[in-house]
Point group: C2
Chain length 672, copies 2
């Protein structure tokens, strides 16, 4: 374990008077409540390139002297700290900010001190104003300048030399005060003057600065096997390339594919997750590994590694990016099982332990063991192999990883692996597929995941959505967790989509795409596919276990709706941001009213959604004119962006009627 | 600076893959949100002897295995941790508690692990219930027992040996399961079974366990010089001893005296803080030090060191305790100035720098310098001398120190000095006289002050009192700050007492004595003395600068009221507690209604105070029957303790009329 991590942070372990005296005496300031800071600095916060990081801290010192402080920051590999002066905020709280210009990790912390010269200057000014004699004070001030002079070099030293001479020449005359109070001396003294009681916040804090796509992107998930036109075989890479114009045409940024590795044959699952595969059944792509290879191989049915390189290039040519599914489990045929017996758990009867969550069994997969038996040492070779598998795909141009079931793998593995990869590829994005307990979901985000799945899929009512979004975007989790709102996944066909028909699909994609700045759908969503295993949230005839072809022009599809939605997202910077969400009053529980204001652009988007897929609803609402700095009786232009028309509203009390067949208004609001 | 304190807590400083792997791999759990914990463990929390400390923590681990954990604790000088099993609370949160039996510092922290045997037991039970074959599982379970056996010794080893033999003999038969599921094996395996992923919270936390008097005491402050009967000279120690029956008679626990050291003659202040003392003026006792001695001397006018020892003994014989005023500033005649020139600041003209807060000057005192000039090293000899001055009085039996103006001395000095003294005298209590900025006041408490003065003196309205008391007793400050509610001090005669007359004095002492569990008054309060310097909160003819005699039987005095109040405090354990305060509804802004329920006794006190000293008020109120577990229509006995009568109330809606001449009801409420 890291020694620094287990160290006591309070001084009780130092036992003798003088040692303790010197250990404490340097901490003249209490630097408190530094923000942002997660768990005392144990975990980094997250931001994106182009942001400014605003830092706050309480600077607490004894006495009445003039406090000063600095925000210190550097890129993680820099030796030297850069310094930004802290400015007083209120009630002993100070603040400063710095620009996050590069996709890397920055370190930051805070320092505080007493500005000896400024304290002198302030006190002497008060005495002068009170008509007190300050002759001796002037001599003291000159002494402080003299001390500072010794620290200066070059041009500054020359200025000091000149000024010191001038002060000396003026000694005893009123001109001495004029010199000592001059702006030039003030400037030099801020830089070279004595910093009394210099104290640095004991923790170096870290911010992961991701690229903007970590916060703002639209994802399209698909099964590579069902992108073709022949239901008797899997699609090829060329079939998938042919699909790219369709996906880009809807405005998506990320194409995310389920695992494309060879699939195991032993205990292969059949259609609808049956225990025995039929002769032509392709098996679950999550049962990774066969004679053809494992985590660094391409399924030969799909294509070759060269084909794959063409695919990556094609995705890029369409202005999109590929996301890979990183699933650690192995099929019983994975090459690692023969090559690395110690990475797996063997039972007393000589059999391998299959994955299980008793009484459930997963006979087509086995899990690797990250530690030696009975909680022993980490199995280094496995950790390295898994990291290197990710680096293998990084080298081929894949920079986005959706990670399957991360909550069943050791947390320190993720902290280590993500950092290892991002040290080489700071643009690597990791999305945690963990629909698990809330604190475990947050833990994965804290220790490094760029994005997280969330409970959005199961938040349907106004109360649920409001409470959950406020927790995500306004609470402490906002500092480290970005929720990627998937409206459906291959494993989740939520009840509202099963029962709500097309209006539900229209509604939920608007919520996903506007409540969060990063969202996704899984193919078929645009076709309103909603046939479920009865009583479950699983798809009937899931592509997970069988070949399938889709009619992408199927009647009732909502491609145009999604296309327009993605256009609106692109055109409006307010929707590129994550934590600028605010809810407003609409006096009907079926109508959700919320808005987003761009931080650095003149762009305010207001959205009203009818949450009931079964019928129209109407509501009085409070138009948030105050967000535009307008009075309650002002007139504004309302531009409805989905249908494309304009009108004006005057006054903050308005009324809206929303058809469930067109369940959302997205208004751009501007002063009339 | 302490190395541990400056260490990075996140792993970014470890740069290579394998080092980082091993540094992280041991942290299998995220142990989060440990409570109570102040600023990541940097400062200790506070409790009193006899409490139990309840600790909570989130234990976050991957997967589905059976989590277990322990609260670890020890007295600060112990080598060995004691372990209390954590029990599940909710939502990944766990809790346990331990008794605080001694007046010392305890350390505590939390550990978590996966219980390998219990995980096995739980999973196999599920398989058995599902009718699955568990033959191989039984062999695995026997293997876990075998591993644990090796760790046991003595009797436990013998039990293991017997059980392992029984299990082996039963191999393959249903009896094997019976043995492995037995309570005896369970008990042994909880102790010796493998703890997978054992992770300890990286911070060792500390709780200062003070004696009960730190939380519960009534203080009486007095000027030793004015306890006699001759206004032309200061009182003697025997005069003060003669006053003890009066003070104890009112029910006070602590007699607190302003500094009793020799007083400087140079620039001695005259009556009412005038710059020039008259011939017989005794000077401020806060201008400490003269030819007769400094911080370890007794003012010869008051008595000798032997007299002082008699005084300490006499205070003890009356069941009370002496509190000393520790004021670090020196008169210009203090012996240290000659002996230790480097402890003071000298000006370029050779003069000493007097205390000042420009444009205000304090010509009768000089401050010591804790650091070498221009922010240099700490002046060890001074730090030690000041500590040793306190230890000098500790050795003479003084254990309570009210510290004058601590906020103008370096914060690390206090952290060091208080810990040094409490290492030898854990019963030493330090009260910070700091009516300063809120965060500085809290900082002094965090770094070691046992008690703090507070803003109570200036909180008069219902809204002010409610908000401030909730901040003190229900917010985070409750973990480390105990507010000692002084109703007046020699420096503060608040406006409400100046203008409100006797009713204000009656009211404010009830508030002080019942809102907080520790409170004080300064002599003259019981006489309703309220002559102020016009336009200020200062006493006219303050004892600080002149001899004075008091008529302790003066007309209009409220000695009986205070006596009864202190009796009520003693008789009712609910009033011995600090953070059990709750406010209740009374529908009039002049009526404050609040209550305290004893944690470990059957005692509920309800208090109604008329906050307006000028007229009677009445209010509907909500009688908090629910605190006694009673329904809204219940009947209770109301025993009014100030006047001593009983009645019943039925139902929670009641009405009260409170005369400003008798401005408080203190009811003991019991089910009828």
């Amino acid at each position: 374990m890291n020694d620094a991590v287990v160290a006591d942070r309070h001084p009780s372990t130092i036992t003798t008077g003088l040692d303790r005296l010197h250990s404490l005496a340097g901490q003249r300031f209490i630097i408190g409540d530094v923000a942002p800071e997660i768990d005392g600095g144990r975990y980094p916060i997250k931001r994106e390139v182009g942001d400014r990081l605003e830092v706050f801290a309480d600077l607490i010192c004894d006495g009445h002297a003039q406090v000063a402080g600095a925000l210190l920051y550097r890129e993680q590999t820099d030796e030297v700290w850069r310094e930004v002066p802290l400015r007083f905020h209120d009630n002993d709280r100070w603040t400063a900010s710095f620009p996050l210009e590069r996709n890397t990790r920055y370190h930051y912390t805070v320092a505080a001190w007493v500005d000896e010269f400024e304290s002198w200057h302030r006190d002497v000014t008060k005495k002068v104003n009170a008509g007190q004699d300050v002759t001796v004070d002037m001599t003291e001030g000159a002494g402080l300048v003299e001390i500072a002079r010794e620290r200066a070099q070059g041009e500054d030293r020359a200025s000091f030399d000149r000024l010191v001479a001038e002060v000396a020449a003026a000694a005893g005359s009123p001109r001495m005060q004029e010199f000592l109070f001059s702006e030039e001396i003030g400037r030099l003294m801020r830089r070279y003057g004595t910093r009394i009681g210099y104290t640095q916040h004991p923790t170096v804090l870290e911010v992961v600065v991701d690229r903007v796509a970590a916060r703002y992107a639209a994802w399209y998930e698909m099964f590579w096997r069902s992108q073709g036109t022949d239901a008797s075989r899997g699609a090829t890479i060329d079939d998938c390339i042919a699909r790219l114009p369709y996906i880009r045409g809807m405005g998506f940024d990320v194409v995310y594919l389920v695992p494309w590795h060879p699939i195991g044959r032993t205990n292969r699952k059949g259609r609808n997750n049956t225990l025995i595969a039929g002769p032509g059944d392709p098996g679950s792509p999550y049962a990774i590994g066969a004679d053809e290879g494992g985590h660094t191989a391409v399924n030969p049915e799909w294509g070759t590694l060269d084909d794959f390189k063409r695919f990556v290039a094609a995705v890029g040519q369409y202005g999109m990016e590929l996301a890979m599914d990183f699933a650690i489990q192995c099929s019983p045929d994975h090459p690692w099982i023969k090559e690395h017996r110690d990475w797996f758990k063997w039972r007393p009867d000589g059999s391998i332990r299959y994955a299980e969550n008793p009484p459930k069994r997963y006979e087509d997969i086995v899990n690797v063991e990250f530690y030696e038996p009975h909680g022993g040492q980490p199995i280094e070779a496995l950790w390295l192999e898994l990291r290197d598998a990710v680096l293998f795909w990084c080298a081929l141009g894949v920079r986005i990883y959706r990670v399957d079931n991360p909550h069943t793998k050791p947390l320190p593995f993720w902290e280590w692996m993500i950092r290892e990869v991002q040290d080489q590829y700071p643009d690597a994005v990791f999305l945690a597929e963990a629909f698990t307990r809330p604190k475990l979901m947050k833990a994965l985000a804290k220790l490094g995941y760029t994005q997280s799945y969330s409970y959005f899929t199961w938040r349907n009512t106004k109360a649920e959505l409001t409470a959950y979004l406020e927790e995500l975007t306004q609470g402490p989790a906002n500092e480290y967790m970005r929720a990627n709102f998937f409206a459906n996944t291959p494993d989740i066909l939520p009840t509202i989509l099963q029962q709500g028909g097309r209006p539900a699909f229209l509604q939920r994609v608007v919520l996903a795409a506007t409540l969060s700045s990063v969202y996704g759908i899984y193919n078929g969503y645009e076709l309103c596919e909603n046939e479920a295993v009865p009583g479950k949230e699983e798809y009937w005839n899931s592509e997970k276990y069988q070949y399938k072809v889709w009619d992408w022009d199927r009647t009732g599809n909502i491609r145009e709706w999604i296309t327009r939605l993605n256009e609106i997202r692109k055109e409006n910077p307010a929707l590129h941001e994550y934590d600028n969400l605010k809810f407003y009053n609409a006096w009907d529980d079926n109508i959700l009213l919320y808005g987003k204001m761009a931080r650095n652009a003149n762009n305010f988007i207001l959205i009203a959604v009818n949450l009931d897929p079964h019928s129209p609803h109407d509501a009085h609402l409070e138009l948030p004119l105050w967000e535009l700095g307008l009075p309650d009786h002002a007139t504004v232009w309302m531009e409805e962006l989905m249908a494309g028309y304009r009108f004006t509203w005057t006054g903050k009390h308005q009324h809206v009627w929303i058809d469930n067949q067109h369940p959302a208004f997205i208004w751009r609001v501007t002063p009339a």
